[in-house]
Symmetry: C2
Subunit: 391 residues, 2 copies
C-alpha cells in the first residue's frame, strides 16, 4: 500500500464550505441527517477531484472520505475501502440521503443494507437543485471554457474546403478543440444522452429524428450511434450548424454557430435573425425571480410572430425545450421548457439554443451559455453570431 501526502481536498476550505452549505440546505429539504455521495460528478463537486469511492456529509461537521481507487489517496485524510460494507458512519444518521437517481438499483440495495439503522431517502433532486446555483469559482471555470471555445469557433472557417463532408469538418473541429485544451470527455445526467465533442449538422440531416434528448437531430454514421453528421458533402445553399460542448476546465460551455458555403435563402436568414433576437430578449428578461417557463414562452411567441413556428426547435421532431442548465454535466437544472416551475436565481448557468430547421437548408440559429446576474443574462460564449460564410 502506497502512502504519501497528496491532499485529498483540492478545493479551498472556504469553497468547499460554500458548496457544503448548499448541500446541507438540500439535505434539510430531503429531511436527511446525512448524505452519502458516490457519483464522480458529485465527488468532483465537493472535493475538486474524481475518485472511486464515497463522500459522507453529515448535517454538521467535516465530510468523511472513503476511497477505493486510486489507492494513493487513502491516507490520513481518507479511509481506504475495497467494498461499501467497510463504510462506517460514526454519527449513525437516522435518515440517510443517497443519489437514488444515479445509483443502479442493485448498488442501491447493497449500499442501503450497510446502514440498517437508517431510513434511506432520495437526495438526487435536491443535489441537482443545489448545483444549479453556481459559486463564483464555478462561474469562473465555465467562463474560462467559454474563452477557449470562442477561440475554436473563430478558426472554424479555416477548416472548410469545397467538397468537405460534415464528418470531416467535425473531425477537424474536434482536433482544434483538443489542441486548445478540450478534455475530450463530456458528462451527462441520466441515460438518454451520448455525446460527441461537437455535432456538425449540414443541410436537412439536421431534421433526422434521433433517440436522444438533443435539440437537433442527425442520422449519424452508424445505427449504433444514430445522431449527428452522416458523411454527406457540404453543399452551397445549405446551412452548417456546429454545436459543440466546451469542456476545457471540468466545467462546460455549450455553444452553437451557423456557417454556410454561400448566403442562405431569405427564410433561413430570417430564422437565424429571429434566433439572435430571441437571445437578445432573453438576456434582458433573464433576471433572478423570473420563471424559466416565461423564457420558453417568449421564444415560442417570437417564433410564432415571425411566422416561423413550423421550423422552431425542429421540424419533423421538435425538442420540448429551448435551453438547459449546465456545468459539470451538459444537462443540469434548470430546463427552459413550457412546464418548468423553476424560478431563475443569480448564479444559474444556462445554455439557450433557439434553433430552426428550414426545409432544403438545414438548421440555423445560435446557442450561447449565460450566467444569470442581477442585470440579466451575461454571455460566456462571445463569438460573432451572424451566419459565417465559408471562404
Amino acid at each position: 500500500m502506497t502512502t504519501n501526502t497528496t491532499p485529498l481536498l483540492l478545493l479551498s476550505a472556504s469553497e468547499q464550505e460554500l458548496r457544503m452549505s448548499k448541500l446541507r440546505k438540500a439535505m434539510e429539504r430531503a429531511g436527511a441527517d446525512g448524505l452519502l455521495i458516490h457519483s464522480y460528478v458529485n465527488i468532483y463537486y465537493i472535493t475538486g477531484r474524481v475518485f472511486t469511492g464515497y463522500v459522507y456529509i453529515p448535517l454538521s461537521g467535516s465530510p468523511l472520505y472513503f476511497v477505493k481507487r486510486p489507492v494513493s489517496l487513502a491516507h490520513a485524510d481518507a479511509t481506504a475501502i475495497r467494498k461499501p460494507e467497510q463504510i462506517e458512519l460514526p454519527d449513525r444518521p437516522s435518515t440517510l440521503a443517497l443519489e437514488l437517481d444515479t445509483i443502479s438499483y442493485s448498488d442501491a440495495q447493497r449500499l442501503s443494507a450497510v446502514f440498517p439503522y437508517a431510513k434511506i431517502v432520495n437526495g438526487s433532486p435536491y443535489l441537482a437543485e443545489a448545483r444549479a446555483v453556481k459559486t463564483p469559482l464555478e462561474v469562473e471555470l465555465i467562463a474560462a471554457s467559454g474563452v477557449k471555445q470562442e477561440r475554436v469557433y473563430r478558426r472554424i472557417p479555416n477548416l472548410y474546403h469545397e467538397g468537405i463532408t460534415d464528418i470531416e469538418l467535425q473531425i477537424e473541429i474536434e482536433r482544434l478543440s483538443r489542441l486548445e485544451g478540450c478534455l475530450g470527455v463530456f458528462r451527462t445526467a441520466g441515460d438518454t444522452m451520448e455525446l460527441f465533442m461537437a455535432n456538425v449538422l449540414a443541410g436537412e440531416n439536421a431534421d433526422t429524428p434521433t433517440p436522444y434528448d438533443f435539440a437537433m437531430g442527425g442520422g449519424g454514421l452508424d445505427t449504433s450511434i444514430p445522431v449527428g453528421a452522416d458523411g454527406t458533402v457540404i453543399r452551397a445553399g445549405e446551412a452548417v450548424m456546429v454545436d459543440a460542448n466546451g469542456n476545457y476546465t471540468g466545467y462546460m460551455t455549450d455553444m452553437t454557430r451557423t456557417f454556410a458555403p454561400r448566403p442562405l435563402k431569405p427564410l433561413a436568414q430570417r430564422a437565424h435573425d429571429c434566433s439572435i433576437a430571441i437571445c437578445r430578449k432573453a438576456e434582458e428578461m433573464g433576471k433572478p425571480g423570473v420563471e424559466a417557463s416565461t423564457i420558453y414562452h417568449m421564444a415560442e411567441e417570437m417564433a410564432r410572430e415571425a411566422d416561423l413556428y413550423n421550423y422552431f426547435m425542429g421540424h419533423r421532431q421538435k425538442a420540448g425545450f429551448v435551453g438547459h442548465g449546465l456545468g459539470i454535466e451538459i444537462n443540469e437544472l434548470p430546463v427552459i421548457a413550457p412546464r418548468s416551475k423553476y424560478i431563475l436565481q443569480e448564479g444559474n448557468v444556462i445554455a439557450l439554443e433557439p434553433k430552426f430547421v428550414i426545409p432544403e437548408v438545414g438548421a440555423v440559429g445560435i446557442e450561447n451559455t449565460y450566467v444569470v446576474t442581477a442585470d440579466g443574462l451575461k454571455c460566456l460564449t462571445n463569438a460573432p453570431e451572424q451566419i459565417v460564410i465559408f471562404e
Copy 2:
C-alpha cells in the same frame, strides 16, 4: 405524429432469433417469464439500432417494442409511448426480469410499479453472460473494427516528431482514427470508467494511479478527468504506450502497442518480450472449456519466472486482471482475473493486455483482441507487436 415505413428491426430475423434464444436461456436461469430491456446497449443488441424506449421479450413469441424517441419509429411495428406507465404486456408475466444493474434505483421503482402483478428479478447478470458469447455476425463486426484499427496503428509513427507531447500525439491518433471511421463514442458497463478514444502514456506517467478500472494509469490533464496523457514531452529512453478503443462498427476492439523514440533499456525490452510471450501462450491455451483464471495465473507465473512480477500490471497500483471481454461495451464478460469462475466458450471475445510498468521508462507490452475458437485464440488486431521505434 410522423408515420413512415422504416422497419424498426435492423437485424435479420434469423440473427435476432439467435440472440433471443440466448436471452431466453438467460431468462430461464433468472426464473423469469418475461424480460424488459431499457438500456441502449441491450436495445442495440436485440434490434441492431438504438432508440429510447423498451423492448419486451416474452419466453415465447415475438418481442414488443415501445418507443419514446425517435417518434419516426413508432409505427406499425412499435407502440409509441411518452412514459413507462403506458407499457402494456399482454401476457402479464408472473416474474419479470429487468436490467437492475443498469437502471437507476428511482427508475426501477417507477418501472416496477407499472407491473404490480409481476415479481421483479434481476436480469442483468444473465444478459451479460448471454452477450459474452458472440454470434458469428458479432465476431465479423469486431473483426472489421480490428482491420480499421490495425490501419491506424501502422500509421502512428508518421505522427511523431521530436518535441511532441503525449497529448498532442494522442490528438493526432484520435483524428486519424476518426478519419478511418471510428465512431467517437465508447460504451462501458457500470460507473467506474470514463473513456477517451485513445490513451497515450509516455514515460512514468503510466504509473500514476487513477480512480478508474483501467490496466494502466496516467495523471491526465485536469483533476476532473484524472487519467491518461498529462501533457509532457515524449523523451528518448521512455516508452510510449498507445492503448486505443476501436469502435468502427458499433462493436469494439481494444488494442495496445508500444512505441519509443529510441531503443529502450534491456529490462524494458525484456518485459515487452515477456508480454508478447504471454500472448503467444494464451493463444494456445485459450480454448473452450478452459477456466479464465488459468490464463491469468499463466500470465502472472510467466512474469514471476522472468523476474518481472514487480512491474506486472502496474507498479505503484496494480490492476487485478490481465484481460476482459468486450463487444458493444469495452468491459464485458469474461474478466481474465485470478478469482474468475468463468469457463471459456467458443465465441467469447476477449482483450488480453499483459503490461509492465518499468521505472524511468514507462509502460511496455501489447494488447490484442481475440475470439475464442476450437483451436485457441484467434487474433483480430494484427499489427506488428515489437516496440516500434519512431523515425
